[in-house]
């Protein structure tokens, strides 16, 4: 909303500079976003919140200025233009021309004042009016249109002037549009209407889209001799729907959507009559003043009970009864004291936003100054509600910290992705991915059911910028449609590619599958998740050889592997990429909650290395099971020391060294007892796997 300093001065005495006024308005909730000098005047651009349609007018803002500065609001003098109105059938004296207003949709149009002016001379409006319109960003057109625009700014009431001679029999009908009904609006666009849109019509045709824009067929032109001036009130929701449907927003629809005061419908029309008589009537002639006022003329005044005690207790500052009265009266509220500090407050018509005592308390806080309310902290009077479970850990935070300590960088990518992205990762979106019904572009069509596409895209983005050694992860929600219900779960994707080390001393090597597996093992161990099974599992993402699933019992926790050639190509990537995804909801459900202290071993351990050559097809997992099957409780740990193929090892065979650690919690072990278990293990390896000891 734009308003000028001098325009405001017509309605209130302002003794402060534009800069000081701007500051005061801002601190009262009318945020001045810019203040500019414009010839002899200053233009304030003010952001008006949706709850204050009354501020969408110079008079409304002047009322606020008056309240802030303790001055009186001077409303325009309407004497001489006011007609005595007695019901809808009233006709002003001297009328010759027919005028009829019929409201078919009473909910859609609570009040409609039609007024006919004869002897009109359409010409440019006076210079001062043209300047003022220009200063608030409007283009002057002719005296009639300019007067309605001028008053839209001054009073907040949108009005529309029709060429009376183009209205069939002077009859105005306010009704819903018919299906497929068409109208060419003032902007020369043909618009197709429907039953949800309110229109103004005469007996034959539609002449305006109510509250939004007039029709070309009844436009005021240079030859117009008689006008029909509409001042009305339309239902906010109806105007809003119509404006959205037609994708047509105007200064008029903007105000109707927010609500126009029933009383202003009349006062603005009176103001218009005065200005028309002054600036738009052909020389020597008198403008007629036929008037038809249809619909509701009075509004019920709201009454609210307010106590100074509640005011002080909400604000945390004592505010006296007399200050409350002074502030509210200054804003146009009627205040009557019922008992000491208790008021009955009458709400003026233009303040339909005020419905309950807190709304009044806000007014009091605003005018006494938010800056004058002291600072305090809420007291902790009793223990708060248990919003988190006792002992609940921030497992997402812990997961991030473990990965950060392992050298992984966190990324954050968009949750909305394209169909193409999903297809590039061999994922068909149609079954479980959720589509957005109003995406801005195809790039954001789907709510992602997987983090992988965004991860691969990030790698591609970085590798194009020559950052090819990457350890990155994202922890975010994924979303799936499960039979009409949205399943939102916490997911983790992590990725490794490029060099393992980045220094001058260690050998330049590329990371491999086992780096990633180690990261997952470390992460799960540190979180306190035990008994995870890594099992070979094919996946459309991974190469056939390097692909594992992770599970505990029957619950799938995730996947890991080497991204296959096809997908690498889809993302324009060359280097090998190792990627894992985890369903963190599932992982976190296995985090041990019964952690207890275990005494530290007091007796020394003995360790023995077992080296042997074995068929290459025997998996380490199988060997590990063999070692763990041994009945001895003295076997504390089994660790792989070395795997070797090649020189001195026959083809199809591999050499392994496994270290076994023996320890007793009760005593120092004797060499003989360790020897016995050790040789049992060695014998077993020979018997079960035809291992050759080395």
């Amino acid at each position: 909303m734009k308003v000028t300093y001098n325009w405001l001065k017509e309605f209130v005495d302002i003794k402060i500079s534009p800069e000081v006024l701007a500051e005061k308005l801002t601190m009262a909730g009318l945020e001045v976003v810019s203040l500019e000098k414009f010839s002899e005047d200053y233009i304030f651009e003010i952001e008006i919140t949706t709850n204050r349609p009354d501020w969408l007018s110079v008079i409304g803002i002047a009322r606020e200025v008056a309240a802030i500065t303790g001055k009186k609001l001077k409303l325009p003098q309407l004497k001489g233009t006011r007609h005595k109105i007695q019901g809808t059938r009233h006709k002003a004296p001297g009328s010759r021309l027919p005028l009829e207003v019929k409201i078919e949709d009473k909910a859609g149009c609570p009040r409609y004042i039609g007024r006919v002016f004869d002897n009109i001379k359409v010409k440019p409006s006076p210079e001062w009016m043209r300047n003022r319109l220009e200063s608030v960003g409007l283009r002057p057109i002719n005296n009639i249109v300019d007067i309605t625009n001028y008053l839209l700014f001054e009073t907040g009431q949108p009005m529309h002037a029709f060429d009376y001679d183009k209205i069939e029999e002077g009859a105005i009908i306010v009704r819903r549009a018919k299906t497929e009904e068409k109208i060419i609006t003032l902007d020369a666009e043909e618009r197709t209407l429907d039953n949800s849109i309110l229109v103004i019509a005469d007996k034959r045709k539609t002449v305006a889209v109510a509250g939004i824009m007039g029709g070309k067929n009844s436009e005021v032109s240079e030859t117009t001799k008689t006008i029909l001036l509409e001042s009305a009130c339309f239902d906010p929701a109806l105007v809003r729907k119509g404006s959205k449907k037609l994708a047509l927003a105007t200064d008029s629809s903007y105000r109707f959507e927010r609500g126009v005061d029933l009383n202003t419908v009349l006062t603005a029309s009176e103001r218009a009559a005065k200005l028309i008589k002054e600036f738009a009537v052909s020389l020597g002639a008198e403008a007629g003043g036929m008037l038809k006022d249809a619909g509701t003329k009075t509004q019920k005044e709201g009454k609210i009970f307010l106590s100074s005690e509640k005011t002080s207790s909400v604000l945390g500052k004592k505010i006296s009864a007399s200050e409350i009265k002074k502030i509210l009266e200054g804003l146009g509220f009627g205040v009557s004291t019922k008992a000491k500090g208790n008021f009955e407050v009458k709400v003026p018509f233009f303040r339909r936003d005020v419905e309950r005592d807190v709304d009044l308390i806000e007014e009091i806080a605003r005018l006494s100054g938010y800056e004058n309310i002291p600072l305090s902290l809420p007291a902790l009077k009793e223990p708060g509600a248990i919003v988190r479970e006792p002992g609940e850990r921030d497992l997402k935070g812990e997961t991030k910290n473990i990965l950060l300590s392992l050298g992984f960088n966190e990324i954050i990518t968009h949750s909305l992705i394209s169909r193409l992205f999903l297809e590039k990762t061999n994922f068909s979106p149609d079954k479980i991915a959720i589509r957005v019904t109003n995406p801005l572009s195809a790039e954001q069509e789907f709510l992602r059911p997987e983090l992988t596409p965004s991860m691969l895209n990030t790698i591609s983005h970085n590798s194009k910028r020559k950052t090819e050694d990457l350890r990155i992860f994202e922890l975010a929600n994924i979303y799936k449609n499960e039979e009409g219900k949205i399943k939102e779960e916490v997911s983790l994707v992590l990725c490794l590619t490029g060099k393992r080390y980045f220094d001058w001393k260690r050998k330049v090597e590329e990371v491999d599958f086992y780096d990633l597996k180690g990261v997952l093992e470390t992460l799960l161990l540190r979180l306190g998740v035990r008994d995870i099974v890594f099992h070979p599992e094919e996946s459309p993402l991974f190469s056939r050889r390097y692909s594992l699933g992770l599970r505990i019992k029957d619950k799938e926790l995730g996947f890991m592997g080497e991204i296959n050639e096809e997908i690498l190509k889809n993302f324009d990537l060359g280097k090998k990429i190792y990627l894992a995804t985890l369903n963190l909801n599932a992982v976190f459900s296995f985090v041990r909650k019964d952690e207890r202290y275990e005494p530290v071993a007091r007796y020394p351990y003995i360790s023995r290395d077992v080296s042997f050559i074995i068929d290459a097809s025997v998996s380490y997992d199988t060997l590990l099971k063999f070692f763990r099957q041994d009945p001895s409780e003295l076997i504390k740990e089994v660790n792989l020391v070395d795997v070797y193929f090649g020189k001195n090892i026959p083809p199809g065979k591999k050499s392994l060294t496994i270290s076994v650690k023996f320890q007793s919690p009760e005593r120092t072990l004797r060499d003989e007892e360790v020897e016995a278990i050790d040789s049992r293990l060695r014998q077993g390896l020979i018997k079960e796997f035809a291992a050759q000891p080395r």
């Binding site: 203040l35 807190v358 308390i361 960088n409």
Partner: protein, 350 residues
């Protein structure tokens, strides 16, 4: 032979110049002074000399031996000094250390952590809520009626899910307020960080996805002054003690009274001439001297009624801030798109 002996010292010096280890020196020393060394050889040869020549020859040989010894000791000293020195031989302590770099937390996560930790100290706990929400939680429960212009501020993505309710992506984290209050009774002090979505065209300051932190406190006798104090405590801890704050009346459907909170510009410190002057405007606050950082207010009685709280018994405050905006102000980041591009050269700066 005397000439040869006199030349020995020169020969040694030449040999020494090629020695750079103590082991090498030991071998060299043996070849001059050892039992089978050069000096020992000359002493043997001395027995074949005439008796009168022996004393002079012996003297020369002893003197030479002594000189050689001194040279060798000198060399030995200098070599051992080198060995213990940090710049000797294979040791060069100025070589760079081995590279070990822990990962970098995303600057948005880091900002959320920093903000949250301040509120934890003020007794708040963190709770998260779903991003895919129903219309009820995003609008009606928050006192935003359908077909109201207030909707415009919360442009929303709708989801194609055929279920009982209309699903959408939450356009603010205030939804969590309702979810927490539905489940728990006051007193409450909760913050809730998370992703929110609004179909705005992307540019340097708009993103269709961004992060917010919602916070609210409900109890008997929570006041507007408590809201001001809590936000002041947060802003001064986060941005610095010399900060100025401004509480401007505003409107949000879910709070009454409502407020927008500005801080003095962190670049120009608010030391700007009035906005009408022609001086070059600060690029961060555009000459206003103030930066808006959050919206807040006292929780609307209608919101309390929705969750079954008695608005005559309880009061509460709520606030919400954009994490990207706060991070952009704090680190001087001028384009919101950088957060989601995930260029490692950007991410590693934090």
């Amino acid at each position: 032979m005397e000439e040869e002996i006199k030349n020995l010292e020169k020969l040694l010096k030449e040999d020494l110049s090629h020695i750079d280890t103590l082991e090498g020196l030991e071998i060299l020393k043996a070849s001059y002074l050892g039992r089978k060394g050069k000096i020992a050889e000359y002493f043997q040869k001395m027995s074949g000399l005439a008796a009168d020549k022996k004393p002079a020859f012996g003297k020369l040989l002893n003197e030479t031996k002594e000189k050689i010894n001194v040279h060798i000791i000198d060399k030995e000293n200098s070599l051992s000094r080198l060995k213990e020195s940090s710049l000797g031989g294979e040791i060069d302590v100025t070589l760079p250390g081995l590279y070990f770099e822990p990962g970098h937390k995303h600057v948005l996560s880091r900002t959320v952590d920093e903000i949250s930790s301040i509120f934890y100290h003020l007794g708040f706990v963190s709770v998260e809520g779903p991003e895919a929400e129903t219309e009820y939680y995003n609008f009606q429960a928050l006192n935003i009626p359908p077909e109201h212009p207030a909707h415009d501020a919360f442009n929303t993505f709708y989801l194609d899910v055929r279920g009982k309710e209309k699903y959408l992506l939450r356009s603010q984290t205030s939804t969590v307020q309702i979810r927490v209050m539905e489940k728990h009774k006051p007193p409450l002090r909760v913050i809730s960080p998370g992703r929110v979505y609004r179909p705005d065209a992307t540019d340097a300051s708009h993103s269709f996805m961004f992060h917010q932190i919602e916070g609210f406190a409900v109890d008997k006798k929570i006041t507007f002054s408590d809201l001001k104090g809590t936000l002041f405590a947060f802003a001064t801890k986060f941005f610095g003690q010399d900060l100025k704050m401004r509480f401007r009346p505003h409107h949000f459907p879910f709070t009454e009274p409502s407020v927008e909170v500005d801080i003095s510009c962190i670049i120009c410190k608010g030391n700007q001439k009035p906005v009408t002057s022609d001086q070059k405007k600060c690029s961060v606050c555009h000459g206003k001297g103030w930066l808006e950082i959050l919206g807040a207010g006292m929780i609307h009685p209608n919101v309390f009624r929705t969750v079954g709280y008695d608005p005559n018994k309880y009061t509460g405050f709520a606030f919400g801030m954009g994490v990207e905006r706060i991070a952009m102000l704090k680190y001087g980041i001028e384009d919101i798109r950088l957060f989601f591009e995930n260029d490692l050269r950007f991410l590693k700066q934090f």
